[in-house]
């Protein structure tokens, strides 16, 4: 597999021999099987793969939400395995942005407060100009004083994206950010993520199972059975779909099971 990015601009995040094993004995599941991966700065990377392929686990380990069994995950030059909970918390707060599939916002806070939450927790003043740029880009300036319950699902996800970007993180991880949205709202969110990369120079990693969503990315990584099995640059929805079909037919000889347990480490 190729590892794009030049020595001059080190990747925003990278993983080396990432292995994650859940359970023991009969219930042993290898979710990640020695994955090497780089996420270059200023790029929009999508991670695709069937359920149980380990794509969410990869993201969680890279983001410091979960620990690896062996191998190293780096944000910049920081090896996450050397950090304790406290340091990891600070790292997530200051250097990583998150967008989850659902339940991204605190219901008690307004949109504005949700956006600045990580900085407020850190007790830092947000960069006003940057914040304005982000807010204008999501196009929800008139909804800032509203609570999440007064926003539509798409608006809520855009607020979540704004929060992820507001602190100018090294990298943004988005876990199925459009999974709960209709296609129109989803497109808005994806468009925003792409603009944040292209216009604002942000780095975004998105886990998705939707070829259309992956089509917004600069690059798609395909995961299966805990390994990166393919990569596609400048993807389009059609090409991603074709590739996925191909992957499926590769799998044809085996039962198209969703539980990774039966397949873990076999390949």
């Amino acid at each position: 597999m190729s590892l794009p990015g030049s020595p001059a601009t080190p990747p925003a995040a990278r993983g080396r021999s990432l292995t994650k094993i859940f359970g023991e004995g009969d219930t042993r599941v290898v979710a990640l099987d020695g994955v090497d991966v780089d996420f270059p700065r200023g790029r929009f990377t999508a991670i695709m793969g069937p359920s149980g392929s380990g794509k969410s686990t990869l993201m969680h380990c890279m983001a410091g939400l979960d620990s690896v069994t062996s191998g190293q995950a780096y944000i910049g030059d920081v090896d996450l395995s050397t950090l304790d909970d406290k340091a990891l918390t600070v790292l997530r707060r200051d250097r990583v942005g998150f967008v989850f599939q659902a339940f991204n916002l605190l219901p008690t806070l307004t949109a504005q407060e949700n956006i600045t939450l990580p900085m407020d927790i850190a007790g830092r003043k947000p960069d006003r100009a940057w914040l304005d740029t982000v807010i204008d880009t999501i196009g929800l300036r008139d909804r800032l004083a509203h609570r999440p319950s007064e926003l539509s699902g798409g608006q809520q996800q855009r607020v979540a994206c704004a929060r992820a970007l507001a602190g100018r993180p090294d990298i943004v991880f988005a876990d199925e950010p459009t999974g709960n949205l209709d296609s129109r709202s989803g497109a808005d969110v994806l468009d925003f993520l792409r603009r944040s990369v292209r216009e604002m120079g942000q780095t975004v990693v998105m886990v998705t199972h939707d070829p259309k969503a992956a089509g917004y990315a600069d690059r798609v990584l395909f995961l299966a059975d805990g390994r990166i099995v393919d990569e596609m640059l400048e993807p389009t929805a059609e090409r991603v779909l074709e590739r996925l079909k191909a992957l499926d037919s590769d799998d044809g000889a085996r039962p198209a099971a969703t539980d990774a347990a039966s397949r873990a480490g076999v390949r």
């Binding site: 659902a102 339940f103 709960n180």
Partner: protein, 847 residues
């Protein structure tokens, strides 16, 4: 559906344990109260039962003087020895013996200190030679047989460490006595004396010390075999005439325990009120718990509905859980109640009411425990159960279940009505002329106001948390802001949580206001009414020998000693408490403001009354008052002075000679010591102390010390009440733990999100802690405001009863507020730790 019920119980162990604990505490307190009062009744019934010979003869009192042992009853109503011989002649009498019994005999321990009976009396008796007539049984040694010999009860012997053969010292109503301890005895079957000490002398010595030679205080009569005590009593009555009361053993026990039941009734009600409070507060927690349990399981219950479970089945499933929790909680509560009863026994023991023997666990108590525990739980769970059943099946399909906040309009309207009614009753009670009615009105008003404010609490929470709660973000930034928002988000829950603390603190602070007002009144009343430099009195108002007054009077520099005694008589047909004083020393020792007349006439047949009494009875100076004495003599007194209410003197004052004539006990309660002009109190004090060293039952106080001592009694009572209220505060704290633990579980995903975006564990813990603190403080503020209102209203309505001053102890209130905040901090420990320990990923993944 039973299987789901069971599975749910097992799945929510922690939560159910918490709500179960609320039931346990509520039931425990009810059961503890019942066990304790049953034990109390049994102790005294045993005491009375063992007191009696088949038939007892005493001098008939002219009127009912209430409970013996309250310190004012006259016992100087003797039975002459001749009567014993007369009764011996009666047909059917097997044995007859005169006996002597009197209070005011105290045993000094090896250090020369009075054996501590708490408030219970030190009783002296004559040792019955007729075993069949005696309530006592010799345990060790032999019977006392002469002036130098004495016997004491086994409890006292054990406490002092005295053995047969030791020489012991006694204080008696007369002289100080040194005697050889020749025997110890047990009283009744159990030996229980409820804290009192018993000292026995031979009959002649007892008469010498406690009555008069040839005079008994009662005669015990034993019936021959086959003679019915009732028949014998009738025969004896025919012989002794109507001047004497003749009672069979069972009649005597009955009348004594009837008297006592009234006194016990008070303790009973007092304790049950606290049990009620504990349950009331506990109900909130149970209701809260089940509401939250149901809310959390919305989807699960909706799924059940979607799968075809009927509403009834869902309701029954939730109620089934409640039933199991109720039964388990009540069972544990029963056991805990036994412990509480033991604790109460110890507590009351320290106040002088020692209960011996085992605790009584009646079947009724067990039934009540279960009834209360199970019923309260079922009722509390019913509302959430109904709500659960109404869950639309479609709720199972929704991703995020929206908690529908039902309108608060009806609740608010009810709250406003109740609060206004309560306030009106408070004001009415304050303005009422009659103290009794006023206090009842205040009580009713307080109840209505508590219920009203509880109903209004969710509405009041908003502005409070928005304004006062705004302190949190200012100090703690985002953590504070999140805590504030969490407290605001579910006003019903916040209110219910705070209400428990509110009730506890309302009561505590109300009693504090009353206590402080009483103390302030004592200060002003004593400062304004005592002229004497020194006051001599015993710790809890036990009577002491007039010898003390005599010896104090002989000290150089003492100009006058005024003894003060208490007695009873009927004045114009109404039983009155009389204060006996020395007419000559009165003006020198007590400051009196005269409305009319003076102390002049007191030496003769005069009586002084305070203004409220004079007004109430319509007496004016010069009026003649008809007096009926305890020993049934008619006398006449003349009202010779009317004075303004005086803390020291009481309402009706006569000379000690008049009091003695009316059958009062010739023992002093207080001595007021006036020093000669130009004498320095500091010079006289050492000599006074030296004299009083021989009488450890009394001590010497100057005015300030006397005030402090009087206030000490108020404080002690307050302490007792507050000790009981601690329980309701404890339950309230438990409620906070419960609510927080639940809301932490409810907000698992939120917490996961916060952790993911960078909230540290310490910050998270602080967030939960601050939420607890702000809720506690909210409850405390409501409670303090209400409590102050109640306290002020009650103090005002009791102005006639001597609470003339009004004092609100602000520093103490501030301490309460701090304690409430601290309770919040402590209550948050477990939920905060739980929240902080949540794995970020698990929390996020929880859908």
């Amino acid at each position: 559906m039973w299987r789901t019920t069971w599975r749910n119980l097992l799945a929510h162990k922690v939560r159910l344990a918490l709500s179960g604990l609320a039931i346990v505490l509520g039931v425990a307190f009810v059961v503890g109260t019942l066990i304790f009062t049953d034990t109390l009744s049994k102790t005294f019934n045993d005491l009375f039962r063992s007191t009696a010979a088949d038939v007892n003869v005493t001098r008939a009192a002219a009127f009912d003087q209430g409970l013996e042992g309250t310190g004012t009853g006259g016992t100087a109503t003797y039975v002459p020895a001749e009567l014993v011989d007369e009764i011996a002649e009666v047909d059917g009498v097997a044995a007859v013996e005169g006996n002597v019994q009197a209070e005011g005999v105290y045993i000094l321990d090896a250090d020369g200190e009075v054996l501590d009976t708490g408030g219970a009396p030190g009783i002296g008796i004559s040792w019955d030679t007729e075993e069949s007539l005696s309530p006592t049984t010799l345990v060790d040694g032999r019977a006392a047989a002469g002036p130098g010999e004495v016997m004491i009860d086994t409890n006292s012997a054990e406490e002092t460490g005295f053995r047969v053969g030791d020489t012991i010292t006694l204080l008696t109503p007369g002289p100080r006595v040194e005697a050889e301890l020749v025997g110890t005895f047990r009283f009744g079957d159990s030996g229980g004396l409820a804290g009192a000490s018993l000292t026995a002398f031979d009959t002649a010595t007892a008469q010498e010390l406690l009555s008069e030679p040839g005079q008994f205080t009662g005669i015990g009569v034993g019936a021959e075999d086959g003679v019915d005590p009732d028949v014998l009593a009738d025969r004896v009555a025919a012989v002794v005439g109507s001047d004497y009361d003749v009672k069979t053993a069972s009649e005597q026990a009955e009348s004594l325990s009837a008297d006592f039941s009234e006194a016990l009734q008070f303790i009973n009600i007092f304790l049950l009120v606290f049990a009620g409070i504990a349950l009331f507060v506990g109900t909130f927690i149970i209701l809260n718990t089940f509401s939250m349990l149901v809310a959390q399981r919305t989807r699960e219950l909706a799924l059940l509905r979607a799968l075809g479970a009927s509403r009834g089945q869902v309701t029954r499933s939730v109620l089934g859980e409640a039933l199991v929790v109720g039964v388990v909680g009540a069972t544990v509560g029963l056991a805990a109640g036994y412990g509480i009863a033991a604790g109460l026994r110890a507590l009351f023991g320290s106040f002088g009411l020692t209960l011996d023997g085992t605790l009584v666990l009646a079947t009724d108590t067990v039934l009540w425990g279960y009834a209360v525990g199970v019923l309260v739980t079922l009722v509390s769970a019913y509302v959430p159960a109904r709500r659960a059943a109404r869950m639309p099946p479609v709720a199972a399909m929704r991703d995020d279940v929206v908690h529908v906040q039902r309108g608060l309009r009806r609740r608010t309207a009810l709250g406003v009505v109740l609060s206004l009614a309560g306030l009106a009753a408070l004001v009415g009670g304050t303005l009422s002329d009659d103290g009794g009615t006023g206090a009842s009105l205040v009580g009713l008003g307080a109840l209505a106001l508590i219920l009203g404010v509880t109903a209004l609490s969710p509405v009041l929470a908003q502005p409070f948390l928005r304004s006062v709660g705004a302190v949190l973000p200012r100090i703690w930034g985002t953590t504070g802001r999140l805590a504030q928002e969490n407290a605001v988000r579910n006003p019903r829950r916040t209110a219910a949580t705070a209400s428990a603390l509110m009730i506890g603190l309302a009561l505590v602070s109300a009693f504090s206001v009353i206590g402080a007002s009483t103390n302030a009144s004592i200060d002003s009343l004593i400062a304004g009414s005592v002229r004497a430099e020194y006051i001599v009195s015993s710790a809890v108002g036990q009577p002491f020998s007039p010898d003390v007054a005599e010896e104090v009077g002989d000290v150089d520099g003492v100009a006058a000693v005024m003894p003060l005694r208490w007695g009873q008589a009927q004045l114009d047909g109404q039983t009155s408490l009389l204060t006996g004083v020395d007419p000559d020393a009165l003006p020198r020792t007590v400051e009196l403001s005269w409305v009319d007349g003076s102390a002049e006439g007191l030496g003769g047949d005069g009586v002084l009354v305070d203004q409220p009494t004079a007004e109430g009875r319509g007496w004016a100076v010069g009026d003649t008052v008809e007096v009926l004495t305890l020993d049934n003599r008619q006398e006449q007194l003349t009202v010779s002075g009317i004075f303004e209410t005086n803390q020291v003197l009481g309402s009706t004052v006569v000379s000690i000679d008049t009091l003695a004539g009316a059958g009062g006990v010739e023992q002093d309660r207080f001595l007021f010591v006036d020093l000669a002009d130009g004498t320095s109190p500091a010079d006289v004090r050492p000599q006074l102390d030296e004299v009083l060293d021989a009488y450890p039952i009394v001590n010497l106080k100057d005015q300030t010390e006397f005030q402090d001592e009087q206030k000490g009694q108020v404080d002690q009572l307050l302490l007792l009440i507050n000790a009981m209220l601690v329980l309701s505060v404890l339950i309230a704290a438990l409620g906070i733990v419960n609510t927080l633990a639940m809301s932490v579980i409810e907000r698992t995903r939120e917490i996961g999100l916060l952790r993911a975006v960078g909230l540290g564990q310490a910050q998270l813990r602080r967030m939960v802690r601050l939420e607890a603190v702000i809720i506690s403080v909210y409850g405390a503020v409501l409670g303090l405001v209400l409590g102050t209102l109640f306290g002020v209203a009650l103090s005002r309505s009791l102005a006639d009863q001597g609470i003339t001053e009004l004092a609100v102890p602000y520093p103490r209130m501030a301490v309460f507020l701090l304690v409430a905040a601290l309770i919040g901090v402590l209550a948050a420990v477990f939920p905060a730790r739980r929240a902080a320990k949540l794995q970020v990923l698990d929390a996020i993944a929880r859908a």
